[in-house]
Amino acid sequence: MSEQLINATYIIAAALFIFGLKQLGSPATAVRGNLLSAVGMFIAVVVTLFSREILEFQWIIVGIILGSAIGAVAAKKIAMTSMPEMVALFNGSGGLASLLVGWAALYNTGNTTFTVVTILLSVLIGGVTLSGSIVAWGKLSEVMNSAAIVFGAQRIVNALLLAVLVICCVLFAMEPALDSPYLYAVIALSLVFGVMAVIPIGGADMPVVISLLNSYSGLAACAAGFAIHNNILIVAGSLVGAAGIILTNIMCRAMNRSLANVLFSGFGAVKTATKVEGEVKPINTEDAYLILEAASSVTFVPGYGMAVAQAQHVVRELGELLEENGCEVTYAIHPVAGRMPGHMNVLLAEANVPYDQLIEMEDINPRISNVDVAVVIGANDVVNPAAREDENSPIYGMPIINVDQAQTVFVLKRSMASGFSGVDNPLFFGENTRMLFGDAKASLSAVIGEFKG
């Protein structure tokens, strides 16, 4: 097939990507959108195989069979609660592919300096995406400590690292030999830089990191597109890059912090919150049942703790019992609840909660005072009134779900430890707050038992 025909077919593939992404914007059309985008990818791959540049197929077949098997098994087996880790690993895999494509492109003959620079970019961004994603995966799966790792000279070390990286890039670009030590230095340094970029970011900031790495994986594909002069890589890569940046921005806004602040300062390292003192009022499941039974509107506010306790199914069961009881049930989702954008929505969808019952923060807050009971399940920072009131709090200014303004608040909590950021939460001492201590899943099951019994 001629190159022109292939490029013309790429236009169709790009159009399918664009339509696909557009349809991903509404729950009703999203499944079809994803399918359209997959068809676009299929067309792009098949038409490329007809290219005259491809002479041998055995290695392509090996690679595709291997990749499909691993990807398919991973996608089928993964638990919904582990989705953030999975997305991180897929990001890393895409980054590695771009690194390798860039590297292999050096073996093409007649590369101009511009092409060599774009090859270096694709190696660099690909490398950062790869190692950054692996660290993100480690933090999310708790293989490594998920807290921010900050040390004194961090910024100086990072600046030096970046400077050496740039110098190696320049030296390589001036003399792009295939066995140049500068090439290996660029690969190694970009991997180190990816690690350094992600370790200072703490667990609760993970949604930002995941979306940023998503953006990087797109930009890496885009740079690889420049390296091999391929339009579809540039178009698709930059679409993904832009999507990731928008999500990153939404996440940052939801925490009222700048991207720079998330990336460079360990959470809570700067300020110490005013210690709140007070008495918590515990409640047992029997009393919790009586209050819920009498309530006419209940809002569940889930957080990462719900994912950890795998409590989404019992939450839905309780929600259904309450509805049968004539109660209005909603689920209020904070944009950064969980460990990736939209994490809670996916978990609740898995538990068969209809998506029209999921309410965004801006929509629930104006009417939260009419809610009889707000049930906080494993959320802490996103419902912490200190973000509104205490100027010394590290999360001051972050928009929160104002559960403290509901008639009654139930907080399901394992014990009296402070949440991820180590902030004391005045909500726990609130006049209208009742603490339901214990494993969230067990507590909710007990309440359900009361309903049925």
């Binding site: 992404l21 914007g25 041998e56 989705m83 895409g94 390798l100 954008p341 068969n352």
Partner: protein, 101 residues
């Protein structure tokens, strides 16, 4: 001249990406991300060229590895997105038990 042309494509695609994504509701952020992630596996198209050109042994190895990793990204990304999206359902009005399909 080609570089300028490619940069032009880049600029337009970035703007298009911003326009497309900025209206996606929060409910769909995770599937959007994994769906976009699958699209970034488009590197596969480039990897095919490296794995099949038969220029050099090293380039073929690098290309084959790139094909494998990009395919993980593409196949895994689309499948997991589909799995997630098929769970999103509207409120079932036929009964309170919720329509499990």
């Amino acid at each position: 001249m080609e570089a300028v042309f490619l940069a032009f494509v880049l600029m337009l695609s970035i703007f298009l990406g911003f326009e497309l994504i900025s209206k996606v509701p929060a409910t769909l952020h995770t599937p959007l991300m994994s769906g976009a992630n699958a699209i970034s596996g488009v590197t596969l198209v480039g990897a095919l060229g490296s794995a099949g050109a038969g220029i050099d042994g090293v380039a073929t190895i690098l290309g084959t590895l790139a094909v494998a990793f990009a395919t993980i990204n593409v196949v895994g990304g689309y499948m997991v997105t589909d799995r997630m999206l098929s769970m999103f359902k509207k409120k079932d009005t036929s009964g309170p038990a919720g329509g499990r399909s």
